[in-house]
């Protein structure tokens, strides 16, 4: 078996290949549903209804997609430059910490200033969380995969300590949670009587801005060049270290903003279960989108649909919720393979 590059890449193949792959992932997953003894069509029906079947379902899905767009963009930007930031989970919590420290009453401003201020603070905090790994990478060539991964555990323990100690809300009846974000900082609702908030719009505009940055600016060009071929980029006079630093700050900042949408938007305060792995799911979002910033919007809504839908599916029929993670993993792997066949054809010998 040999892989041969295709001469021209057709647009229809770029669109159809991932869709076929996702279909294949659902077919494989139906084997697991058959094992539970439930009807496959009924189960997928509940999944779809739970994700997109009503105004409330759609609002919940878009609400879940909001942090995923941010963490998905964080992974997409970083992976595009082959900077393997697997630490979005930790950076998200750093952003959430910034929201708690600055947004719970220390500073009071009108909403119009307070909300942008919180997003900025979250982005800076997220970038700071990545400063150590990127510094070690550029000066000592320490592998960023391991440092960013391990820092997730360190940061989560640190947040755990703060929530049981200095940041613990005395009014929380003993629960390890921080004081609530003040009213001026709370993200206003987009739709009345739902949890969907303005953070979703911020996430959409972030995706568009990142897309424009990657496509139309010199920075974006340099990021893509470093990712495609670091040696060639160096010969072209691009500073690799400076580009990697820029990518890291962008990536960490985006992940930090996911912490803002969760503390100041969905939850209202910081807890230890703020994120059910949004940082890690963001990697799946970016991979499904083939690292395209606008694709991230679609894949984040799709994955959020799987998560939200499978919650209501497991309430309706007797299937463990863990099936959502299996589905996401299968989608990621099959889309990964399908995208290869967009660029290459198989020649059997």
């Amino acid at each position: 078996m040999q892989l041969e590059p295709r001469e021209n890449i057709s647009i229809s193949r770029v669109i159809l290949a991932p869709l076929t792959a996702i279909l294949a992932a659902f077919v494989i997953c139906s084997a697991l549903i058959l094992w539970t003894g439930e009807s496959v069509f009924e189960a997928y029906g509940h999944l779809f209804k739970g994700a997109f079947g009503s105004r409330f379902a759609i609002s919940e899905t878009l609400n879940r997609a909001t942090p995923l767009i941010f963490t998905g963009l964080a992974a997409a930007v970083a992976f595009r430059a082959k900077f393997w930031n697997i630490g979005a989970e930790g950076q998200l919590y750093f952003g959430a910490l910034a929201a708690t420290v600055l947004g719970a009453g220390v500073i009071t401003m009108p909403s119009i200033l307070m909300i942008p201020f919180l997003f900025l603070a979250g982005a800076i905090a997220g970038g700071l969380a990545l400063l150590g790994p990127v510094f070690l990478k550029t000066t000592l060539k320490v592998d960023e995969v391991v440092t960013t991964l391990l820092l997730n555990f360190v940061i989560l323990l640190f947040v755990n300590y703060l929530l049981e100690g200095p940041l613990k809300d005395p009014m929380s009846m003993g629960w390890p949670q921080a004081a609530a974000i003040i009213d001026e900082g709370v993200l206003p609702a987009l739709l009345p009587r739902t949890r969907l908030h303005i953070g979703f719009v911020v996430a959409l505009s972030a995706a568009v801005m990142i897309w424009a940055l990657m496509r139309y600016t010199i920075w974006g060009y340099e990021i893509r060049a470093v990712g495609a071929n670091a040696n060639a980029a160096r010969f072209a006079g691009i500073s690799i270290n400076r580009t990697v630093m820029l990518v890291a700050m962008l990536s960490g900042g985006l992940a930090g903003m996911a912490g803002i949408t969760e503390t100041a938007g969905t939850k209202g305060y910081l807890t230890l279960d703020l994120s059910p792995g949004f940082g890690y799911s963001g990697i799946a979002v970016a991979m499904l989108a083939n690292l395209h910033p606008l694709g991230v919007i679609v894949s984040a809504i799709f994955l959020a649909g799987i998560y939200v839908g499978s919650d209501s599916m497991s309430r309706a029929v007797n299937i463990p919720t863990y099936i959502s993670d299996v589905m996401v993993a299968l989608c990621v792997l099959s889309v990964l393979v399908s995208l290869l066949f967009v660029k290459y054809r198989v020649r059997w010998k």
Binding site: M1, Q2, L3, L32, W35, T36, F79, W84, I86, L136, L140, K141, V142, D143, V145, V146, T147, L149, L150, L151, F153, V154, L157, F158, N160, Y161, E164, G165, Y280, I283, A284, M287, N318, P320, Y322, I323, D325, V326, V328, A329, L330, V332, L333, L336, V337, L340
Partner: protein, 314 residues
């Protein structure tokens, strides 16, 4: 208990070996993969899978060694999947590895929940028991510290010399090293690089899965959600710390485990003066620190992360 007493207590040294054993399996497994030129970020998920399948085999009435074999088999199958993606199709090793971790860990939890739908307290099995070595086990101090362990702990220590012998002294080991250093030269010898790499990833993944199974059928007696808790990632740091040498991997794993055992005991000694979370951070921070220390003298396999296609030239 005093700080000094801590180091002369047999319990401390016994705990060190117990903590090191799964790390040794995982680290050697990852090392075998990377020596052949393949980064395997599936380790965290494959260890979770090994922990679940090994335990489940025993829970369903199988033997303990049967559980070890079954975990190794399932681990090898996930290794094969990773190898198909990155060795044969040449996909990104980072991305595929993360995908494998996602798949293997979520599938472990799903299968566990399917077989045991509503168990709030996880059911238990009878795990491996310490073996009594006549004479040695009765020695004061040394008996308790080093000669009253389970067979799987000794197996962990035994795979180090086996790995050293296989990697440096056998034709297969030489082929694995060449696949990671200079696959074109290996191809020129008429050896199939893709087969060597696939084999190495499968063997390595089987070892990782045994490392996971160690936790559920030797160290503890039950399977918990999130029980691997970053051990796989620590193994990847240990491979770098060991500079891809099995002997140094043993040293790294023991050093790390010693600190972890110390950390747990120091927590009790500190008696709440320092919040416990800071002690729990130590192992992760130490792993990062070890990578910084080693970064100057690091010598990684030349073809690590580089996919090979038949007929490639450098």
């Amino acid at each position: 208990m005093d700080w000094l007493e801590l180091f002369i207590s047999a319990g401390f040294w016994a705990a060190m070996l117990r903590i090191a054993a799964p790390l040794i399996f995982g680290t050697i497994g990852e090392l075998v993969c990377e020596r052949a030129g393949v980064l395997n970020l599936g380790i965290e998920g494959i260890m979770t899978m090994g922990a679940m399948t090994g335990w489940m085999w025993v829970f369903q009435g199988g033997s303990l060694w049967g559980g070890v074999m079954f975990a190794a088999f399932v681990g090898a199958m996930f290794g094969l999947l990773h190898a198909i993606f990155v060795v044969h199709l040449g996909l990104s090793q980072h991305v595929s590895g993360i995908g494998i971790t996602l798949l293997a860990s979520s599938l472990s939890y799903f299968v566990f929940r399917m077989i045991l739908p509503d168990s709030t307290t996880p059911p238990k099995i009878t795990p491996f028991q310490p073996i009594n070595i006549p004479g040695l086990s009765d020695l004061p101090f040394f008996g308790e510290a080093f000669f009253s362990h389970t067979p799987l702990t000794y197996l962990a220590l035994a795979i180090i010399p086996v790995a050293i012998y296989c990697i440096y002294r056998t034709p297969v080991g030489r082929a694995v090293r060449m696949a990671g250093e200079n696959p074109v030269a290996l191809e020129a010898q008429g050896i199939d690089v893709l087969h060597i790499r696939t084999g190495a990833v499968m063997v390595g993944s089987a070892l990782m899965a045994i490392g996971g199974a160690y936790l559920t059928i030797s160290a503890f007696d039950a399977f918990f959600f999130g029980m691997i808790n970053g051990r796989g990632w620590i193994c990847i740091a240990l491979v770098i710390f060991a500079s891809w040498k099995p002997g140094r991997a043993l040293f790294g794993a023991l050093l790390f485990a010693g600190l972890d055992a110390f950390q747990v005991r120091a927590q009790q000694l500190a008696g709440g003066a320092i919040p416990y979370q800071f002690f729990l951070m130590l192992p992760y921070l130490l792993s990062i620190g070890a990578m910084i220390v080693i970064s100057k003298s690091m010598r990684y396999p030349k073809a690590l992360l580089v996919p090979f296609r038949r007929g490639d030239r450098i």
